[in-house]
């Protein structure tokens, strides 16, 4: 059952140089109990999609086309009051737990309780506190830490607190935006394990946004690869990771470092795409190792490779 349906979404930023097309006609479906990863380099538009779904785009950004369907409501055309209700209660967000991601002068437990008390007005202070304690044990933070301030937490603990906060209102969907990027590998592993087990236990749909394809492959059932604001490959984890079809995905994997690597990582040549004046035809063409006669002029269409696997490419 489709939980979240994003259809032909386009987001444009107004910049000094002109309108910047951060997201261009992106469509995907997030099923219940499933996690989908969005991978891409910085500037590929993946974070913008997350913020667009939450309805928290900055004032110079605009959704120029498309719909975001959740529970039979289109979030794009909904008034702010509806969005406010949906936010956190149904769609929550986990972000990078930088030092200032949590209010530095408020106790952590209090910040989480605040979300609960706002979305469920009938709840008493004591009940909220109990809920916070439950959440803490669920994510693995010692209960007595809930009265501490954010600066007293370690990086990993802060990330867990952010996860606990996202879970506080039992949402249906969680958007996880680079949740492990700032953490060291061991803590990263623990956090991913926490996320995975929580997802299995609670059946939440997760949209996992990251630039690190290996992290995404660890946690997600489906993977979407983004480049220059467009979705270029979508498939199951096995399909995308083990048999990548799009040249960009292949380059991305080749550029990666693994323990069992038999080859040196290969960087992708060329410069990052210009989103204000995108190239005609395929946007990846100038960096692609294809022959590129059709790609340079014609915008590539979707080519279906299997039930779940499709790419946007002109080549075989």
């Amino acid at each position: 059952m489709a939980l979240l349906k994003v259809d032909n979404l386009s987001v444009t930023y107004a910049t000094a140089r002109g309108p910047l097309r951060a997201v261009d006609q992106v469509s995907f479906i997030l099923e219940k109990g499933q996690s989908m990863g969005l991978v891409g380099e910085s500037g590929s538009g993946k974070t913008t999609i997350g913020t667009a779904i939450m309805g928290l785009l900055p004032s110079n950004a605009e959704i120029t086309s498309g719909t975001i369907e959740f529970h039979q409501t289109d979030l794009v055309s909904s008034p702010p009051t509806v969005l406010q209700n949906v936010r956190w209660k149904h769609i929550a967000m986990i972000f990078q737990a930088a030092m200032n991601a949590l209010n530095p002068i408020q106790r952590v437990g209090q910040q989480i309780a605040e979300a609960i008390q706002f979305h469920e007005p009938g709840i008493s202070g004591a009940e909220a506190k109990d809920r916070v304690a439950d959440l803490f044990s669920m994510v693995g933070i010692p209960g007595h830490r809930c009265n501490d301030y954010p600066h007293q937490y370690s990086g990993g603990m802060r990330q867990r607190a952010v996860i606990a906060m996202a879970l506080s209102c039992s949402p249906d969907v969680i958007i996880a935006d680079e949740p492990t990027t700032a953490l060291d590998v061991i803590v990263q592993d623990q956090i991913l394990e926490t996320i995975r087990s929580l997802q299995q236990k609670l059946g939440i749909g997760i949209l996992f946004i990251s630039h690190d394809i290996s992290v995404v492959a660890d946690v997600c059932h489906m993977i979407g690869v983004m480049y220059a604001g467009e979705l270029v490959e979508v498939g199951t984890r096995e399909e995308v990771f083990l048999s990548p079809a799009h040249p960009y995905t292949r380059s991305l994997l080749a550029a990666h470092i693994t323990l069992s690597a038999t080859h040196r990582p290969k960087p992708i040549p060329g410069r990052s795409p210009d989103l204000v004046t995108p190239e005609m035809g395929c946007r990846f063409c100038s960096r692609c190792d294809c022959s590129g006669e059709t790609c340079m002029i014609e915008a590539p269409q979707w080519r279906i490779l299997s039930d779940t696997h499709k790419i946007k490419c002109c080549q075989g």
Binding site: A14, T15, P58, N60
Partner: protein, 313 residues
């Protein structure tokens, strides 16, 4: 690697980016933004008006000696009068022309403001550079001193000094104001110096054998000076206000006609209720001149700190 790594650059002023001296680049960028900034434009316009007033202050007494702000007395008038053809703003309690007093006040205000600000910039820059460059105990002592000086109520301290020295001349006042307003500048300069201290071109200079003084004067100072000059505007405003307050309380230089002095006269001679033509102009001028410098300072602030700029993003 930037070009400034080579030892030969030790002789010329440091070039940080693509070869243009840092301050010239900052200046041209700044000017473009400044002239499109509404608050900054109003500030400059006001400043220009007062500048003209100051320039024209020499004209009235040249036309007729009775217009001299201090000594000129209209033979026909010996008391306070309202505006008239001969005296555009009227006369004060002994028949002196108020308009020429106002113009002279503009001249004094600029003189006091700019010289005092200049002196405190020199002092603050020297101390800030020393603190930032040498660090450790020199830094601690200098910054603690700065803290203490900064919290002192300047006006009252100068008042006390006035009691010790008897009457103050205008230049003594300027000097004393400068002696108390330098801490603000020194902090900013110190921070900038500390960040510059570790740049490669400073190391290059040291390796090439430059002495500390040479490094400070030739390399750090040119990069730090634009910042100092930028913050000068706030020094000017406080200098003008303090001088005006001192004059108002009766501790100004009796030989100079400043706006504060004019206010003192209207107050002490009991004319403040009868002569709005005398009471209003000096106060308006002080406030507007201060406002203009303040506006310029804020415009510069917004230009320097991109987060405060009006355009989002």
């Amino acid at each position: 690697m930037d070009q400034s790594m080579t030892a030969s650059n030790e002789r010329s002023a440091p070039h940080l980016h693509d070869g243009t001296p840092y301050w010239r680049e900052a200046f041209s960028d700044g000017w473009a933004l400044f002239s499109s900034h509404p608050v900054g434009r109003i500030g400059i316009a006001l400043l220009a008006v007062f500048g003209l007033m100051a320039l024209f202050s020499f004209i009235p007494q040249a036309i007729d000696p009775m217009y001299h702000p201090m000594n000129g007395v209209d033979p026909e008038i010996s008391h306070a009068t309202g505006p008239s053809w001969h005296h555009w703003l009227g006369t004060d309690f002994i028949g002196r022309d108020l308009f020429s007093q106002l113009l002279a006040g503009a001249r004094i205000a600029f003189m006091v403001g700019i010289s005092s600000a200049f002196m405190s910039i020199i002092l603050g820059t020297a101390i800030g550079m020393a603190a930032g460059y040498f660090g450790r105990w020199i830094d601690t002592i200098l910054m603690r001193t700065a803290d203490m000086v900064m919290v002192m109520p300047t006006l009252l301290v100068i008042l006390i000094m006035a009691s010790l020295f008897g009457h103050l001349s205008i230049w003594t006042i300027v000097l004393m104001i400068a002696l108390f307003r330098w801490p603000g500048v020194s902090r900013v300069i110190r921070a900038q110096t500390m960040s510059l201290k570790h740049r490669p071109f400073i190391d290059a200079a040291r390796i090439a054998g430059a002495s500390h003084i040479r490094i400070l004067l030739r390399h750090i100072l040119p990069n730090v000076l634009p910042l100092a000059l930028l913050y000068m505007t706030f020094r000017v405003t406080s200098a003008i206000i303090i001088e005006a307050a001192l004059a108002f309380l009766g501790f100004g230089d009796p030989g100079t006609v400043s706006w504060g002095m004019m206010l003192q006269w209207v107050w002490k001679t009991g004319h403040m209720f009868q002569s709005p033509n005398w009471l209003l102009p000096p106060g308006i001028c002080i406030s507007l001149l201060t406002l203009s410098f303040y506006m310029i300072g804020r415009a510069m602030d917004e230009i320097l700190d991109p987060r405060l700029r009006k355009s989002d993003g």
